[in-house]
């Protein structure tokens, strides 16, 4: 049992009319793993999560979650998992405690276990002082932490999260992740979708989705190491002029302005830096710093989506 994947997806497909939302998607997630689904709008992230949650039937392929087939045994799947959609159903006119109690009843959590579990979940995410507060009076960050606590009260073996921290400030976000890591350490498996790549860096492994398929799937470190070319960060107060000066350099595959300069991806690798420096010098642009830097997940992502879009 322990060697079986917590989630196994094989050749999964789902169409909506002419749109292939999920297109022969395959991946496996080990127990205790934090697995991220990353991709542009319409890449199939939410559809995949909904299929795994047993709320949407696939057209083809199979998905097993916590040992249960999502098509044949959707009810067993629902008892083994928790699914937190983008808008989690909290009751604004119930208190924090009452919301958790409601979900505990729904999942039939025994009364004695419920108390212990609720106290622990709320303590880890710093919500203990707010147990009597109405959910409607909580900040966005605290609402998300309460949603997570509700989703976790029945000890799911697999947790499915759809962009869980959108609009949540970094301090609350750290509490949110703290709670997740505690439960991962106990063997729970988490699949989360995210649009923020600083957040994707926290996952053990990532699948980059594009038009319903996984175009890359690996650990953040290996994804970065495997990116073709090199990323050159140029620090300059004249970022717009630098962008224009570098735009037609043949080696440049991606170029964008950031707050303190430009970030350039060159196909030739680290050797491409010299040509960038020369071009900027020729254009008379003051450069405070120029260096080859480790790619961010965002660089990997943009490069691989661009490559996938170039294919017929």
């Amino acid at each position: 049992m322990s060697t079986e994947a917590a989630v196994a997806v094989d050749g999964l497909a789902k169409r909506f009319g002419d749109i292939r939302a999920v297109d022969r998607l395959s991946f496996a997630v080990a127990p205790g793993e934090l697995f991220g689904l990353v991709g542009p709008d319409g890449a199939g992230k939410t559809t995949t999560l909904r299929i795994l949650a047993g709320v949407l039937a696939p057209d083809a392929g199979s998905a097993r979650v916590a040992g249960h087939d999502v098509v044949r045994h959707p009810e067993s799947v629902k008892h083994a998992i928790s699914y937190m959609p983008q808008r989690f159903g909290l009751y604004d006119d119930l208190t924090v405690d009452e919301n958790i109690r409601f979900y505990a009843d729904l999942f039939g959590v025994p009364r004695r276990e419920r108390e212990r579990r609720t106290a622990r979940l709320l303590a880890i995410c710093g919500m203990t002082p707010f147990r009597g507060r109405l959910a409607g009076a909580l900040s966005g960050g605290m609402k998300q932490k309460l949603g997570l606590s509700c989703a976790l009260v029945h000890r799911p073996r697999v947790l499915l999260l759809d962009e869980p921290t959108t609009g949540v400030d970094p301090v609350s976000r750290r509490d949110f992740w703290r709670l997740l890591y505690e439960l991962l350490a106990e063997g729970m498996t988490v699949i989360t979708s995210t649009a923020y790549l600083d957040e994707a860096e926290r996952c053990h492994r990532l699948a980059l989705l594009h038009r319903g398929r996984a175009i890359l799937c690996d650990t953040p470190a290996r994804l970065k190491a495997g990116m073709p070319g090199a990323v050159v960060a140029v620090t300059t107060p004249e970022s717009a002029a630098a962008r224009d000066a570098l735009a037609d350099l043949p080696d440049v595959t991606s170029l964008h302005v950031v707050g303190d300069g430009v970030r350039v991806v060159v196909a030739s690798g680290a050797g491409g830096l010299a040509a960038i420096r020369d071009r900027l010098r020729a254009a008379g642009i003051a450069v405070a710093e120029i260096a080859v830097v480790s790619p961010a997940i965002e660089d990997v992502f943009v490069a691989s989506v661009a490559a996938a879009e170039a294919l017929p």
């Binding site: 990353v38 709008d41 959108t166 400030d169 609350s172 703290r178 350490a185 053990h204 302005v257």
Partner: protein
């Protein structure tokens, strides 16, 4: 009148709601063409400052000049010179893209002769060609966001306020959006952004860190990363469990620890001392530790240290 090149001048700005001080003697200036980010937990004063600068809320004390006009004495002149895009994008879902643009163009008083040309510009800028008649409610996040930006700047405001502009928008669209913002900045538009995401903060020329109404730091992302953190950051390769986290929090010289992927970011007083002592400390508690290496602080490390725990306190 403000000095040349200064788009916004804020001096000793104060806003009180009853006994609560939402903005507490804040002063700063923003240059023409600058992209300035506001970071801070909920309740730090970000939206109150933005609402004052939009001429929607009168300050209790101090003054603010926007495009040369005083927000208290001349709020109408201020409002005519700003564009505002909210995180909900404030579009009419049951109107088409082009109808939304026409509606906002009328609202902002764009002359009919100019409106046609401005709408064509917005459609081009937002990459909406071919989708002009699609209902706004059916557009994917990235298009919706660029349409909202188009609506907010149809009247060519010299100053634009963006409230969490890419909340829930995918990475490709976000990068595209920021390239549009930087082109506007190059053309001289001053842009204010409030955000919770460090991905987004890195696109700003300067960042203002706000804490309970006070401005605690204002500088470029690079300077904030290198100087605003008290202490240094170590990357610790150890099992990402609750036990490790508790041990790190209790370790001597550790100011704070957070899980990052399969390891931790640990903020410490003295990097070299802790770097040597930490593996021994963890080993004594039965926790294997493969590596401890100093790393450059991230903006998030700075944010969490300088602004941490305020959300919970202010909510209590």
């Amino acid at each position: 009148m403000s000095a040349a090149g200064e788009a916004v001048v804020v001096q000793d700005l104060v806003k009180r709601f009853g006994g609560f001080t939402a903005v507490d003697r804040v002063s700063f200036t923003a240059r023409q063409g600058e992209v300035l980010g506001f970071l801070g937990p909920n309740g730090a004063g970000k939206s109150t400052i933005i609402r004052i600068l939009c001429g929607l809320l009168r300050p209790t004390a101090g003054r603010a000049l926007v495009a040369g006009f005083d927000v208290t004495r001349d709020p109408e002149a201020v409002r005519a010179r700003i564009g505002y895009m909210s995180q909900r994008f404030s579009l009419y879902d049951d109107l088409s893209a082009i109808e939304n643009l026409r509606f906002f163009g009328g609202l902002y008083g764009v002359a009919p002769a100019e409106l046609r040309q401005r709408i064509a510009w917005a459609v081009e800028m937002a990459g909406l060609r071919g989708r002009e008649t699609a209902l706004a409610g059916t557009l994917a996040g990235g298009w919706k966001q660029r349409l909202a930006l188009g609506c907010a700047v149809l009247h060519r405001p010299p100053i634009v306020f963006l409230d969490e502009p890419t909340s829930g928008v995918d990475p490709m669209s976000r990068r595209q959006f920021w390239q549009l913002i930087h082109r506007m900045a190059t053309d001289g538009v001053t842009v204010f952004v409030s955000t919770h995401y460090m991905d987004e903060a890195a696109y700003c020329h300067r960042l203002a860190l706000l804490d309970r109404g006070r401005l605690v730091a204002l500088d470029t992302p690079a300077v904030l990363r290198t100087t605003a953190l008290r202490g240094a950051v170590l990357q610790v390769q150890a099992p990402p469990t609750a036990e490790t986290l508790a041990a790190l929090d209790a370790a001597p010289g550790v100011l704070g620890a957070a899980v990052f992927g399969d390891g931790f970011h640990v903020v410490v007083n003295d990097a070299s001392a802790v770097q040597d002592a930490l593996p021994v400390f963890l080993a004594a508690r039965g926790i294997p530790c493969q590596a401890v290496v100093p790393i450059a602080p991230s903006l998030e490390d700075v944010f969490v240290q300088r602004l941490g725990r305020r959300d919970a306190e202010s909510a209590a």
